[in-house]
Structures are given as structure tokens and as C-alpha cells.
């Protein structure tokens, strides 16, 4: 049977078909749908872990237990899990483990554009790179086989365009357990990485890498496709697809395994073509290796950009500059650069909005974090100064406050992000005594990636009921005396609690708790503006709600537009009602 699947769905299908019994992940675009789809199979136990490091340790444990296992994360998630990747490379994994890393060229939903192929080289583990959904499925099974054969974790590198593009996949059946399940046996020389034991493992890892390089020579997806021999293209991942379209006649060396590289195959290809060209998105990973091998690369990163995502036009234009293809058709220029932008915005009714509105009112330096509330950085809310990575907010705020500066830094961090990486820095604030106020903006879900469960939602990935993590009790256990919880949709309550937290001038936690609007079955209300009372002061526009729009009615005194509420978008949060000094905003009964 054939089906149109996204790369992420295909990875999940691959896990199912190849007998995976255990999978773990933390949500992160573009990888999130992998575990969401894995979880649909009754045969596979799947869990959301609090962060990627926990997900990987958990997966390593399951593999030590002798099972076939999958872990998935976005590219920066592998930074969080890096330490676990490195030890598991040394211990080996007994069963089988494939770790999916989903890179994000073009930064569709990330803080950087890092190229995780370097992790394979760095950790000395093999890496596979699919070029479409079919290979995304197949490479899970192949990766598990490599993992079993060589006793190593295997990285499966996806990119946004592989994860979120759909293409046709031939579906198969689930194979039963792997042919030789590996029971766990105590072996401290292999699994307990004391320096003395680890020292003895290092040469084993070097030998394994040599064996893998030999394997790579015959790996069926490292493949020469001979065409016109005047031009030879080396390509990987989605770049292969773009290059195929731009150079329909050329010879290709398609590298489905990007580490370790098949040097004999590469040399055979290089000697069979007149010009060797490397087409790879992001960094010159393959190009550097070819150059170390002493091969002459006619065109690489001197033409094909390091920055940003490829598409056929990007590749064609670069190839033209390199003198490899004719002039592409001109890029249309309709002269529409001055259009009003439509960036993503905090939803109407979002409980994060009043928190950031209040922080702005108090002139605080706001160290933000990863989540929907990052959208409060931009106009009109314009309230967040720094955003780095998961959990950075609290440590950065502590550092700023401790170092001393003109102002007061506070940290804002979401519920899921707090469980991910917020606990150690929150402990640090109280241990090292800064007057940092940490606002945990708890909307009771992992909103940005599409509303996944986490350790305080009371549900697991498989939908089972479970415990609920308690922020208040946790902060008190750490030693915090200043712990407050407010409903942010009540501005007065929010402001009093914020002011009390700041005035305490010691470590404080302020939990702002109100569910994401996507968790409601129906909206709690609907508001409208009484145009006779509105004097166009503009205060309600400052909260930056997409439901509040300029009315066509102009106030005579000021000449400014009065406000109006879009009844389709309004969610009924009542924040605008509370900021209106004229009492011009009131509820309406819904029909």
C-alpha cells in the first residue's frame, strides 16, 4: 500500500515497521510530530520526557535493556542531550538506538541554524540522512540494523523540508522483535564509564569508526548515479533533490550516510568526472572532508550559500554564478516590499499578554525564554530584552542582577520550558541570593509546538492520567519564601503580586496561571466597545490584541480612530475591559 506521508510520519511508520518498542522525545519544531505519530501505535511505548537529555538517557536505558529504541529531538535539543550522546558512543547500546536530530535551515522556528552533521563526527557515531519520506521510513530500520551490528547509537538527521514535506511511501508490515534480542548483562567495563574503563573503550570506538567507514563503502544509499561525466555533483539530504532538478544530466554521488564517509567511493566518483561540485545546505561538512582528502572541489561554499535554506532557484542561481548552468529566468520583482507584515502574534485572549503588558508598565528588563511568549518581544507589546535557549531566562536575569546595573531584571519562563531547564537556575537564584523575580507563565500546556502534555498537565503522551508537578511546592522546597500565584487575567491581582515580589528585594517566584485558549471548549465571553464612551485614547491598542481594531469612527477632539472589537477574534479574556479608563468596553451576550 502507498501513502502520502510527511517525513515525520514516515519516521514513526519506520519505527513501527522495524519493531521499535520504546520511544522518547521532548517536543520541538520540526521534530514534534514524530513522537505524536509513534504514540498512535499500541505496540510502541512512547513518552514525552521533560527535556531532550532525559529523553536520550531514557532511550539509552531502554537500549541497554536490549530493545529496539527511537529518540527524537530538534537540532538544538541535541545540544541539551549532547553529554548523553557522547557517553553512549563510548558504552555502546546493547540493543538498538536511533536518535533523530531535526535541523532547521532557514530558522523557521528556532534560535539558530546549526548543522548537526558535526555531532556525528564529534561523537564518533554514524549518521544517516534521508532525501524524502520513503527514505525517512527506510532509514529507521537501516539505522537500527547498523546500531545492532556495530553496537553504536545512530544519528538520523532530518531537516525541516524532510520533516514537513510529504511524499509517497510504500508501507510495509511490522516485523516482530529483532532476530537476536540482546538480554542485559552486567558489564562494568562497558557500561560504567569510570576513567579507567572509559580509557579502554576509546580504542574500541576508533576501531568501530574504521569498521563503519568500511561499511559505508557498500551502504546501498551511498550511490553513484552516472550521467554526463563532465559534471559530478556530491549531495546529501534535501539538497540532493534540488540539485537533481537543477542538473538533470549530471553524474551524482548521493550520500545517504554522511558519517563516516566512504572515501574509496568518493575517490572513484571524483576520478570519473571532470568537475567535482558539492551541493549541501548549511555548512561545508562534505566539502571540507573532500578537501582534506586532497580532492579539488570546483564549486562549493564559494558559490552555494552557507546561510539559509536552499530551493531549486537558490541552487540554480549559485550554479549559474559558478558557470555550471545557463542563466536562470529572472526573479519576478513586483515591488511589494512595503506591505504590512503579518508575523505570528499572541492569540486574542492569550494569558501571556497581560503579564508582558504589566512588565512593560513597570519598566523592567525582561529576560525571556523559548515559547509563544517570545512573541511579546515584538511591537506592539515590545517587552522582552533577551532570548537565548531553553531555560536561559533565569540564569541570565540572575547574572544581570548580581553584576549590578541600572535597572532590575526579571525572568519569564513557560511551564513546559521550566520543567525542561528551569529548575537548576531557579535553585541557583536562591542559593546565590539575587533579588531576581522569576515569573513562571503557566498556561498548562506546551503551546508553541502544538499543545503537548508535560509534567504538570496530569496526562502522559499516551493519554494516561498521572501526577501533576507543583511549582509552588517546588519553589518552597528550594527555600523560596516569596512565592505567589495569580490569575493574570485579573490585572489588579497581577499588578499587586508583581509589585510585592519586586519590593521583597529577594529571590521570588511569581506563578501566573491561566490556561492557553486552545484548552477551552468554548470562549468564556465576548466584548464590544461603546463608541459613545470611547474617546480614542488608544490605551486598549497598547495591549496588542489582534481582536482590537481601529474603528472607522474618529474622535472629534483628538482626530484619532476609536477602537472596535472584532467579534470573530475576541475570546472574552476581559483584559481590554480592565485597561479602559472610560469604561467603554463591556460584555455582550452571545446568541
Amino acid at each position: 500500500m502507498r501513502a502520502l506521508l510527511s517525513g515525520n510520519e514516515a519516521v514513526a511508520r519506520g519505527a513501527y515497521e522495524s519493531g521499535v518498542v520504546f520511544a522518547s522525545a521532548y517536543p520541538g519544531t520540526p521534530s514534534t510530530e514524530i513522537l505524536e505519530n509513534v504514540a498512535k501505535y499500541d505496540e510502541i511505548y512512547a513518552e514525552w520526557s521533560p527535556n531532550e537529555k532525559v529523553a536520550l538517557d531514557t532511550a539509552i536505558g531502554a537500549a541497554y535493556a536490549g530493545k529496539r529504541v527511537l529518540a527524537a529531538m530538534k537540532h538544538v535539543g541535541l545540544n541539551v542531550a549532547a553529554e548523553s550522546l557522547f557517553y553512549s558512543a563510548y558504552t555502546g547500546i546493547n540493543g538498538a538506538l536511533v536518535i533523530v536530530t531535526a535541523d532547521d535551515p532557514g530558522l523557521h522556528s528556532s534560535q539558530n541554524e546549526q548543522d548537526n552533521r558535526y555531532y556525528a563526527k564529534f561523537a564518533k557515531v554514524p549518521m544517516l540522512e534521508p532525501t524524502d519520506s520513503q527514505e525517512s521510513k527506510d532509514f529507521v530500520g537501516l539505522g537500527l540494523e547498523i546500531s545492532e551490528q556495530f553496537d553504536t547509537p545512530v544519528l538520523l538527521r532530518m531537516t525541516t523540508r524532510i520533516c514537513h514535506s510529504m511524499s509517497i511511501v510504500e508501507l510495509g508490515e511490522r516485523t516482530a522483535a529483532p532476530p537476536s534480542p540482546q538480554p542485559y548483562e552486567r558489564n562494568i567495563q562497558k557500561y560504567a564509564m569510570l576513567p579507567g574503563f572509559a580509557r579502554a573503550r576509546h580504542p574500541v570506538i576508533e576501531q568501530r569508526l574504521e569498521d563503519l567507514a568500511e561499511y559505508a563503502e557498500t551502504f546501498p544509499y551511498n550511490k553513484i548515479e552516472w550521467g554526463d561525466r563532465s559534471l559530478g555533483i556530491v549531495a546529501n539530504g534535501v539538497s540532493y533533490q534540488y540539485a537533481r532538478e537543477v542538473f538533470p544530466e549530471a553524474s551524482f554521488l548521493k550520500l545517504g550516510m554522511s558519517w563516516p564517509l566512504p572515501e574509496r567511493l568518493i575517490r572513484e566518483f571524483a576520478s570519473g568526472v571532470e568537475k567535482l561540485v558539492v551541493v549541501e545546505e548549511l555548512d561545508p561538512f562534505l566539502e571540507e572532508h573532500l578537501k582534506i582528502m586532497g580532492l579539488k572541489v570546483a564549486a562549493g561554499k564559494d558559490y552555494f550559500p552557507i546561510v539559509g535554506e536552499f530551493n531549486p532557484r537558490v541552487v540554480r542561481e549559485a550554479a549559474h554564478k559558478a558557470g555550471l548552468v545557463g542563466k536562470p529566468s529572472p526573479t519576478p520583482e513586483s515591488g511589494v516590499s512595503d506591505l504590512p507584515p503579518r508575523p505570528p502574534v499572541l492569540c486574542a485572549g492569550c494569558p501571556h499578554r497581560p503579564v508582558f503588558y504589566m512588565l512593560k508598565k513597570h519598566g523592567l528588563v525582561v529576560n525571556g525564554d523559548i515559547g509563544c511568549y517570545a512573541l511579546a518581544t515584538l511591537a506592539p507589546i515590545s517587552t522582552t530584552d533577551t532570548i537565548g535557549c531553553m531555560g536561559a531566562s533565569i540564569g541570565v536575569a540572575h547574572g544581570m542582577n548580581k553584576a549590578g546595573f541600572e535597572g532590575r531584571a526579571v525572568a519569564t519562563i513557560g511551564d513546559s520550558t521550566f520543567w525542561h531547564a528551569g529548575m537548576p537556575p531557579l535553585l541557583n537564584v536562591i542559593y546565590n541570593k539575587s533579588n531576581t523575580v522569576t515569573l513562571i507563565v503557566d498556561n498548562e500546556t506546551t503551546a508553541m509546538t502544538g499543545h503537548q502534555n508535560h509534567p504538570s498537565t496530569g496526562r502522559t503522551l499516551k493519554g494516561e492520567e498521572t501526577s501533576r508537578g507543583d511549582f509552588e511546592a517546588l519553589a518552597r522546597a528550594m527555600g523560596y519564601e516569596e512565592v505567589r500565584t495569580v490569575n493574570p487575567l485579573n490585572l489588579k491581582e497581577l499588578e499587586e503580586a508583581l509589585e510585592a515580589s519586586l519590593e521583597a528585594n529577594k529571590p521570588a517566584v511569581l506563578i501566573s496561571r491561566s490556561p492557553c485558549i486552545f484548552l477551552y471548549k468554548e470562549r468564556p465571553g465576548l466584548f464590544e466597545v461603546d463608541l459613545d464612551r470611547c474617546n480614542a485614547c488608544g490605551r486598549c491598542f497598547e495591549i496588542g490584541c489582534p481582536a482590537i481594531i481601529r474603528s472607522s469612527e474618529i474622535d472629534e477632539k483628538t482626530g484619532k480612530a476609536k477602537a472596535e472589537i472584532n467579534p470573530i477574534l475576541c475570546f472574552g479574556c476581559a483584559v481590554c475591559e480592565q485597561v479602559c479608563a472610560r469604561k467603554a468596553i463591556h460584555t455582550v451576550e452571545e446568541q
Binding site: 519544531t29 515591488g335 511589494v336 499572541l346
Partner: protein
Amino acid sequence: MKTTNFALVGVGGQGVLLASDILSQVGVASGLDVKKSEVHGMAQRGGSVLSQVIWGEKVYAPLQGKGDIDYLLSFELLETLRWLDFLRPTGIAIVNEQRLPPLAVSSGGMEYPGQERIEKTLARATKQYYIVPALAKAQELGTDRATNVVLLGALSRHLDVPKKQWLDVIEERVPKKYLELNRRAFAAGREL
């Protein structure tokens, strides 16, 4: 090895992704190779949405750049202009007559482009553009939410695929109780 490249554009929540799913499945049902590309995550929060569908005997790239799209199916006027450079000069633009002012217009100081500018810009980009009242048609049938299927109907007139093929896929993709409504929406679109 010529492929047929579609770009579907609009605003999060307008039904762009369901339309591109249906378009992809129609390609598969016609025996073609199909790839579809879209971005999830941050772009969902009321932002601008682009989804591409590529049909062909053999499709390599899941994504095309500026100037390489054959059919631009736009759900919103401003988004039409934003993505217009993706259309080939010989391409066809089918545009839903609907304005959804973004925050920069509704509460900020920017202006939504006027009808004259929209039409002039479209006319410069292609000879073949059609601004169609898909939203109004859907509303006549009783719901805004059928706008995407009305637009697919309008697109289907330009493609060499039997009507039955479209209706079969629509039947698979929409809940039974909305099937008749969507059939009528598709038929209305074909007449725009």
C-alpha cells in the same frame, strides 16, 4: 521532466492546509508523483501561511523558489501580493476576494493595499489572474469554512483532471455530514 507547481497562500486558520492536502491527494489519485511542503510551529499563530504542492511524472524538489510557481491559489488579497513573486510570468493566479487586515493595519498605522493597487500589481505579474468571490459563494452556501473547496473548484477548471477525481478525494477528506455542502462548494467554484 516538467512539473506542475502550486503555491497555496493565506492566513493561519483559513483552511489552506486542508486544501493543499486535497490537491496533493488528487495528484496521487491521478497516478502522478507528488510532493507537498509546508512549515509548522511558529507560523500557525495567525501568521502568513505558504504551502506548496508539486505534481509530476517524477518530482524531486518538494519546494520551489520565486518565479517558479505555475498556479498561485490565494485565500487573501494581501497575502496574494506578499507571495506574488513566486508566480511565473506565464502562471495563473486565482485569488479569493477577502481582506483580513493584519495587526499592523487593524491597530497599527499601516494601510491595507487598495483594490486598484492590488489589481495593478497582479496585472504586472501575470496576464492570467482571477479575483473570485469564493468567500461570498461559501457564505451563500451557509459557511465561511467551505471557501477552500470553492477555491479548489475554481482551480480545477484550469487542470486536466476529471471532476470525479476531485469529488472522490473530497469525499475521503471531509466528514460525511459536510459532504453535500462541499460538493456544492466545489461545483460553485468551477463556475466562478
